[in-house]
Assembly symmetry: D2
Homo-oligomer: 192 residues x 4
């Protein structure tokens, strides 16, 4: 019962704990089933995405492409919503006619390359990433759906930094896990 929170602690209760204010009522709280996404869950999902990208890079260096591919597969299965249907995914470096990667195969090809069906893909996650920083400009949370927009800065093993404009949308599944259902990444516009 992942959503059940018998002892939920709102902010007031936490402050009460700090300052020893007695509880207003002795009656135990009723159990609550709450399927909403919290801001903390959104931030954790973003951090997990960055950690996963670095993991794929490190696994590639330590164990080769097969190990990187296995890690990337696990990331796609665990953190994306391909199990629900098409994911609205526009990666940073894709081009027509393969700009959008609404299938799991297309996403895996983008991250680790090596798929003849996607000949332009060289493996975005194999670029020696070491650090991922997320700076949100804003967050929307509507029930079990959340959306974020902002910059993501990636640092590689040589210290080179790349910043992209990034939009993510998440949906919480029945197990309480946030899954990416939309991901639009683009290089910053630069006036000629």
């Amino acid at each position: 019962m992942p959503f059940v929170n018998r002892l939920s602690m709102p902010a007031a209760a936490l402050l009460a704990l700090c300052f020893a204010v007695p509880a207003a009522t002795a009656r135990p709280a009723a159990p609550v089933v709450n399927t909403n996404i919290t801001e903390a869950e959104v931030l954790a999902a973003q951090q997990a995405w960055g950690d996963a990208l670095v993991s794929i890079s490190r696994d590639n260096e330590a164990g080769g492409l097969e190990r990187a591919r296995a890690t990337a597969s696990a990331v796609l299965d665990g953190a994306y919503g391909y199990n629900m249907g098409p994911v609205l995914f526009k990666p940073t470096l894709t081009q027509a006619p393969q700009t959008f990667r609404t299938t799991r195969d297309g996403a895996l090809a983008y991250f680790v390359g090596g798929d003849k069906a996607y000949p332009s893909d060289t493996g975005f996650a194999l670029k020696g990433w070491r650090k991922v920083e997320v700076k949100n400009e804003g967050v929307h949370i509507h029930g079990d759906v959340a959306m974020t927009m902002g910059n993501v800065t990636l640092t590689d093993k040589d210290g080179k930094r790349t910043t992209v404009d990034k939009t993510w949308a998440y949906k919480k599944d029945d197990a309480g896990k946030l899954r990416i259902v939309l991901h639009h990444s683009s290089l910053p516009y630069s006036a000629k």
Copy 2:
């Protein structure tokens, strides 16, 4: 902009304030638009319903039926969702063919009586209520919809207590206000 929370304080931040743990990051949080219902809002809406019922009773005693009707009208407009369409309302003491009060007129007649179109209604809110206690058995929160079930105990001016089985569902509107969209109240079953 009722939902904007530029300085949202998650539980960890509150504890940090208490114990002077330094913040992990100096970057200010991104603004968050969050349309979800919280447990605290549900409990506040239940308390407000009870307070409103007592207010109608007291206004009837102090100012007569017209004043009670004005208060009841304001409660229906402010706390129920008749502005969205039919409300799923089964009051405690109604009978066929007028059991369900999906219209504002039907609800007003139930609370304060005096409507020839609802000849059986004597005004449930006019019974001298003094106290309303809500005991939830469980709460469900799904986005901007919340549902509760439990007992409500009403005490009148003579100290007589009445307990009913009560279900409410709320929807949060664009202004951030919870509105009752479903209300099923029934006297406890008693085996003959």
Copy 3:
């Protein structure tokens, strides 16, 4: 991918099929992931509940209590939301202190009895039910949550009819199945 609808047929498309109006565009529709509940799904879930109640009665008559209990267990696992946490269930004929059946065990005891922990339960689903008719007064649909209120009339093998006031709320799960998360049933109020 239960929610994927590559060939969704809106009303206009259906009418076009009927009258051979040419499509406005040759471009195939984009795939749609839609987690919302439809009115048709709500009506089907209500019908399924009635069919299940009759099945338990018939299985009891044909195969005895064990078979009825097995059927009731399957109904609870397939059509109720006990897998998510507490279900807000107030059956028609329960009394304090066991009025609410927020656990699967409590619900099973109500339907088929025979549980020493619920000594008042005689098995509501064993009463020889033959027909269940649902008459909704109104329906609310908000995303993957739907709520209904109205009358349900049950007819037993002797033709005796019982009408109850009934509220249901459903939540659609990741597999696309509607599950009852709230169920308030009560005998009609009768003025003394």
Copy 4:
């Protein structure tokens, strides 16, 4: 009561009309309050966005900047969600430190320019647009939130076509209107 649909016509009912199949039941349908977004509403909102862009261009040519600005203001107030708080808006041609336009002022400056606070903005909507074509790769609908991703191709008065990668998210408000709460637009990536 914008969401009330007393005479909702599901697909089966439409087919019945075509083929004169008698209704299964004479009982009138219960009123339905449904706050969900439909695919048709999403497509209509996309079309309206394109029409609005062309209108601003034409108003600029026929009535000058003030008229264009008035039209753009009306579009922002009617079709975007700035009334709810920050909108997650990354326009096609903006650059740091003014990449994101989470405020109404920032969005208006992008569309019609002439705001000293946004010195790089020359008015994207003033570029003589004549036609807007939307090609979705996929659509997600979750309650009163919908998301789309795909290409948008803009044609100007000289017949020059510009294609962008476009993500939109909409939220339906209490009046039943879809509002853009997220908009990420980017020029296609091009390998050097």
